[in-house]
Symmetry: C2
Subunit: 205 residues, 2 copies
Amino acid sequence: MTVVATLSTRTRLIATARDYLDAEGLDGIGLREIARRAGLSHGAPLRHFPTLGALLAAVAAEGFRDLQRSVDHALVLADPTAPRERLAAAAYGYVRFAAANPGVFGLMFRSDLCDTSDSEYATEGSAAFGQLVDLVVDAQASGFHPGAVPAELAGVLWSTMHGLASLHLHDALAPTTGQTDLDALVRLANLLAFGVSTPPPEELS
Amino acid sequence: MTVVATLSTRTRLIATARDYLDAEGLDGIGLREIARRAGLSHGAPLRHFPTLGALLAAVAAEGFRDLQRSVDHALVLADPTAPRERLAAAAYGYVRFAAANPGVFGLMFRSDLCDTSDSEYATEGSAAFGQLVDLVVDAQASGFHPGAVPAELAGVLWSTMHGLASLHLHDALAPTTGQTDLDALVRLANLLAFGVSTPPPEELS
DNA sequence: AAAAGTAGTAGACAGTGTCTACGAAATAGT
DNA sequence: ACTATTTCGTAGACACTGTCTACTACTTTT
């Protein structure tokens, strides 16, 4: 076998698909287009994925991992002793990932494109949700709506972040002005939900 | 011309598309399929809409009108003197529309399917947002976050409802249990945002 | 060295959206 | 009333898609 540097075709296909999403969005994505960009014949991807949906599910699973990383990265900047501040920081991490990676983020929730029965896809999606549930449990232990069901509370918070990110990407927020200050909306959402007014972090990535 | 009852082909196409969405969801929707179900040849719809996206934008615009109606309907049951309760009622109206009409609701926010430059689509979408802004302004006048920008506040609340509805339709909420009590989540979201614990209304539709 | 399996190619098939030429039917103009 | 013209639906074509099936090299195993 080759010693180094030859990415397996399978991982190269995933990377190519991801590049396409970052460059063009998810509008014109397809099996033949990915194969073309990877320098392969149109049928080659089906040797590694049973269907287009399976390929995209693998890309989306990677997206869920990156999403968790983005949230983790936002958390290291937050006060570890203030659970509500940590939830607020996670919100920034979530929304910023969506804003920085609109293609993959859009793909991750398109069940008509991703094969949602893919086990890796399901695993990573649940892991991302579990990350949020853990934060919620910590916050509840310190007095934040201690009576609520953790998964329900996490679902509501996830929904707020997800709604902000989705509507922002669809330009559905502020239909009059056209320009949206996403950070300001997250800050307001955090104020509503947690009662804390945490300014947006300033790091890049 | 015929005296009555002959729906113009244009409106019949819209109705046919809507029927399809209600019956099959938006997965296999297409120009030829709609034409087939309307009993027309595959090219006929293009005599009335320049493109598939234009037809779907018309369907989505109708969906936005129905959404506003659903919110209005929820509002008549709410105490007209309690603006926060009214916001909570609007949340139920929004989410219940989405749950009852998953096809059209999904379509309304799919900019790759709808021609978002369609003027009717833009008008109805803004009108639905404006409906929420009005409620927010009333609530602010009675002391609910009076310092916030109304459109931003409305954006955050819209996002929460929208996120709940979207994630619910994608089965992304409660990935462990599989079954979600959507009303309970809306009630919890209202508690977080408005501090009111309004039980879900019980009427059908 | 022969056999078996892997991975890529190329062609076909049914399906899509959109374009074009064509025909029929209703309408408008004189 | 008889053209002329516009309206509306049909049918065929074109380029494209995802998936399936042979076929062909190249590896790996035995």
